[in-house]
Structures are given as C-alpha cells and as structure tokens.
C-alpha cells in the first residue's frame, strides 16, 4: 500500500521528480535538498525537504498524525522531524543503529540493544509511531504495549519466563548472579499466580499493571 502525494495538493510538491511519485524504485535522493522518506522494501512517500528541515507539508503532518493515533500535536511532529533529520546523517530516510548509538545517553542505557532491534531502520512515520507511547496523552494500554514489545523479542505475542529473565539480565548486568535472578523471578511469578512455564500475553501485562499507568512520559522540545 504505497501512498503518493497528490500533485495538485500544495505548491511545494511541484519540485518533486516524476520518478518519486510514479515509480516504485527506491529513490535514494542524492540531491541534498530533497529527500524521500522511503521504506527499505521500496514503497515510499515523497516529501520535499528544503535546506531548513521543517518543510513538511500539512498533508504529511496529518498523515503522520493519523499513523500515531493523534498522540502528538503538529508542532511536536515538526520537532521530531528536525530531530530525525539531525540523527539521519546522510539523508537515507531511516536512522541506522550506528547513528542511534552516537547519542551517548542512548548508548549508556542498559536496554539500548533491545530498543535498537525495534527502532533500527524505521522511516519517519514509524519512528513517530514508536515514540507515541511516550506521549503524555497515551493511554495505559499503549504504554504497556510498548513495554510488552520490549519483552517480546521474537514478536510471537507471548512473553515467557525466559524473556523476563533476559530483560532482568540486561538491567542488572553482572551485579546479580543468575541464582539471585531466578530467585526473584520465581518469587514474584508464584505470588502473582504464574508458574515458570507460564506465558504472559499483552492482556496479562495490562492486568498486572492494573489501573496505575506507568510513568513513561517524554516531553518533545518545541522551539
């Protein structure tokens, strides 16, 4: 399902090459003042980017907003676009792992490798959708869903004790022995009514979190 910009939509579209609107080949945009937000598999949306990076059109912003369920305001999406362009150094249309790791605060985070798997290679729309769970307007379900996805590394919809163990290992490193981790895990699982063979689904996660929303809000700086 590829989305094309309607050529009659706005004046800024006129400068887009016919290629990018019609063709299905990957347009890598070697002209530094233009870029397409392209997916790796060849579908894309054409967006013009001038020298100042806030050249998203209203159409693009609304599209991105729709994709992230309106959790961000238009100004926030513009700020995120500036940030995306800043991190994506050679204007490929996605941010590589290396570029994420060049942010020292991110590289220092114990969960960086897990998050990298989820966030590597996303185009801008998907990037905003990923970050939407951090919006203050996101519901409990949306936030817990992100936490669930971090645990569920093989994306099969189920989180096993082994998955929880692995995340615990990432978080505690060499400062807890495996036996201590086993002990903690079995204690809390048994108390919550699960065994070591149980699988937790998203619904189980939501039940565990109850009515208390996890504090996971990130403010997008709007200059």
């Amino acid at each position: 399902m590829s989305e094309f910009l309607d050529p009659t939509d706005s004046p800024s579209v006129n400068t887009i090459d016919l290629e990018t609107v019609v063709g299905s080949t990957y347009y890598s945009g070697d002209d530094s003042t233009r870029r397409t937000l392209s997916r790796r598999n060849g579908e894309f949306e054409g967006v013009k980017m001038g020298n100042t990076s806030s050249m998203l059109t209203q159409y693009d912003i609304e599209e991105v907003q729709g994709h992230c369920q309106d959790l961000f305001e238009q100004q926030e999406i513009l700020s995120l676009y500036q940030r995306f362009c800043q991190l994506d150094r050679n204007s490929k249309g996605f941010i590589s792992s290396d570029e994420f790791l060049s942010v020292p605060e991110f590289a220092m985070n114990p969960l960086s490798q897990r998050l990298l798997r989820m966030v590597d290679g996303l185009n801008f729309k998907e990037f905003v959708a990923f970050l939407s769970a951090f919006s203050a307007k996101a519901s409990l379900r949306q936030k817990v869903k992100l936490i669930f996805k971090v645990y569920d590394s093989n994306c099969n919809g189920k989180v096993s004790s082994k998955d929880i163990m692995e995340v615990l290992r990432d978080l505690s490193g060499s400062f807890m022995s495996d036996e201590q981790r086993e002990q903690v895990l079995s204690q809390v699982m048994t108390e919550a009514g699960y065994t070591s063979d149980s699988f937790l689904t998203l619904e189980d996660f939501i039940k565990v979190f109850g009515s208390c929303k996890p504090e996971m809000d990130v403010e997008i700086p709007v200059d």
Binding site: R83, P110, V150, L168, E191
Partner: protein, 376 residues
C-alpha cells in the same frame, strides 16, 4: 565535586580518568520515590524509568545539541528583499571574494619571500631568526583575518610571555587559532590534518613550536603529555595554547575540558572566544565540511565578528584535583562567553561511551531489587 572513590570499583581506562561523575550532571531518570516493601510482578515488569531515559535520549540529548549548526533564518522571502539579497550575493562573490583572495595571495607572497630566505640565511642567529619568524607568522595570520573581514575585539590585558604559563580557550573552529595568533605568537597543540593544512602545519607552524597529536593513536596520550611538559619547562619557547575541549563545538555550549592542560604545574590563563552569529556561523563542523570549504564559506560572507576575552590567570588551589581545576576554569570561560556547560566528553563524537556508565545503572537497579528481596 565529591570524589567517587568509595562506592564503585572504577575501571582505569583513559577516557574515564578524564571527567567527574557524569551522573551528578545528568537528570536522574527516576525522580519517583524508590518503592519500598515486598517485590511484586509489576515492579519487575515495570521498566518504564529506563525506557523513559532511552526515549528522552532519542528525542533530544545535550550532546548532539553541542554540534548542531542552526542554519540561518532566510530573510529574503519576499518580493523586495529578494533582489536585495541577490545584490548582496553578487557583491559578496564577485567583489569581496576576489578582493579577499588577492589580499590573501599578497600576504602569502610577502610571507614566503621573507620566510624562505630567512630560514636558509639566518641559520646561525637563532634568537633573531626566531623573533622575525614569530613576527612573520603573526603577520600572515593578520592577513588571514583580513581576508574574512575579521572584526576582532580583544578585551583584557594582552598576555605576557612568561615561563610556566599555559593558555586555554574554548574551541569553535581552527580559525580560533588564527584569531589568537595574530595578537600573540602562541605555540598550539593541534590534531595533525591531511592535505594542505598538514603541509602548513609541518613547515611553518613548526617554527612557532607547535605540537601535534593524533586522536586515533592509543599510546599518543603519554607522548603528548611528555611533549607538553617539555615545552612548558623550556624558557625560550612560545607560550602554549591548548584547546582542552579536544574538538570543535558550536559556540553555544562547552564540553568537558580534558585535564591534561591542568596538570602541568603552571599558571593557566583562560581565554574566552565568542563569535557573533549574525554575520557568519564560524562553527566548523568537521564531519560536514572540509577546512577548505569552511574557509571559502568564511571568505564569501560579510564578516567574521568575534570577541576575545583574556581572563585572569588561575593556579591550582591546594587540595583541588586537576579535574576540579579544569571545571573551575571551564566555568569562568563559559560564563564570560555566555556558553552553556554540558557534561560530555568531546571525544564521544568519535567513540562510544565506556560501559562504566551503563554498569553504574545496572548496579543501582540490582541493589534496589536485592534490598527489596530481603525485606519480606
């Protein structure tokens, strides 16, 4: 800044010795009260503090901000400003630029025609030839500054050449060196560059006594430290200028100062440099532009306007470590030039942070879990 010798077994890697406890500066992810009481499944599954920190880092981080060059706001967006801007472009590229190139070429001509004979003739008279060489280098730097229509205002007493003195300044571009050199013949410590800049470095700047280092070489650090010490002890050497940030920053922030310059047992004279961005953004983003392009950009702008403040010389106080001394001087420079301080090592531009930082987070997490495991 308190010494962290107590809590953690520090890994003695070189990068770590350079800066104080980063966590003192960084906003702590969990400002929520540490939950007490029995451990529940929710506590284990709730990774939101760590996730929030990661999310915050993706959205905005203080390190990347230091190297961001904001493109100037376009002001030529309407019907009468646009021709004015076009006229300006014509003036800059077709009138000013050739004039400047000519000035620079003229300056080089004078310089080379005096320098080369001098170098070969006055072999015996070391003191005299050194003095003339210094004057010549000052002259060519003035020509460089003129070729960008540099307007530099110097504040504060001019540095006197005395032994056991080191100058430190904040770093925005290689032109910092040229701007300072036109006043005083400093010997600077720089990264060895390839190309024509490297050629200049190895021929002309050698005469002023510059020291080279190579960021990518691991053992380089000790060699450079020794060279620094030798230079400062020598009586007849030019005053040493060091840029302790180690990399070019965008003149809105300062990154952590490397302590090498502050443990040489001398007086440290801070210099603050601030460029006026209205005329041109002098930040040299070495990843985006080569130095030649950067110079050309400067030569085709209206002017390079900056202010240089020579601040009061400082010595290390009794009981102060080199790192604390470096931070104190950095405070002075940041305050004077109106720059914000950031707790990051400039070399993180080229390498990843050491695992020590994530280990610290892991340790505090592990400790809190284990403490609650005990508390039944």
């Amino acid at each position: 800044m308190s010494n962290t010798a107590g809590k953690l077994v520090t890994s003695k890697s070189e990068l770590d010795l350079d800066h104080p406890y980063i966590e003192d500066y960084l906003p702590s992810g969990s400002t929520i009260d540490e939950p007490r009481g029995k451990l529940s499944l929710r506590d284990l599954l709730d990774i939101s503090p760590t996730l929030t920190e990661a999310g915050g880092a993706i959205v905005d981080d203080s390190f990347t901000r230091c190297f961001k060059s904001n493109p100037p706001e376009p002001w030529n967006w309407n019907i009468y400003l646009f021709p004015l801007w076009c006229f300006g472009v014509v003036v800059r590229y077709c009138i000013l630029f050739p004039l400047r190139c000519f000035t620079l070429a003229f300056g080089w001509f004078i310089f080379l025609s005096t320098f080369i004979p001098l170098h070969s003739l006055l072999k015996g008279h070391d003191r005299l030839s050194k003095k003339i060489e210094r004057l010549l280098v000052e002259m060519i730097c003035s020509f460089f500054v003129a070729s960008w229509t540099g307007v530099v205002k110097y504040h504060g007493p001019r540095p006197s050449i005395r032994p056991k003195q080191v100058y430190v300044a904040n770093h925005t571009s290689m032109i910092d060196f040229i701007v300072l050199e036109q006043m005083t013949p400093f010997a600077v410590i720089m990264q060895k560059h390839p190309g024509w800049v490297g050629l200049l470095q190895s021929t002309i700047l050698e005469t002023v006594g510059c020291i080279w280092f190579n960021r990518s070489e691991a053992k380089d650090r000790e060699i450079v430290a020794r060279k620094l010490r030798d230079h400062v002890q020598g009586t007849d050497n030019n005053p040493l200028l060091i840029f302790p940030e180690g990399t070019c920053v965008n003149n809105n922030y300062t990154v952590m100062f490397k302590k090498g310059a502050f443990e040489l047992d001398c007086t440290v004279c801070p210099i603050a440099i601030k460029y006026n961005k209205i005329f041109v953004d002098a930040f040299w983003n070495s990843r985006k532009q080569s130095f030649t392009m950067h110079l050309l950009q400067l030569m085709t702008s209206w002017a390079v306007v900056c202010e240089v403040w020579y601040l009061e010389p400082q010595t290390i106080r009794p009981g102060e470590t080199a790192i604390e001394f470096a931070e104190r001087v950095r405070d002075m420079i940041s305050l004077r030039a109106g720059l914000k301080k950031v707790p990051w090592d400039g070399y993180l531009k080229y390498s990843r942070p050491s695992s020590k930082h994530s280990e610290r987070k892991q340790q505090s997490f592990a400790e809190s879990i284990l403490a609650r495991l005990e508390a039944k």
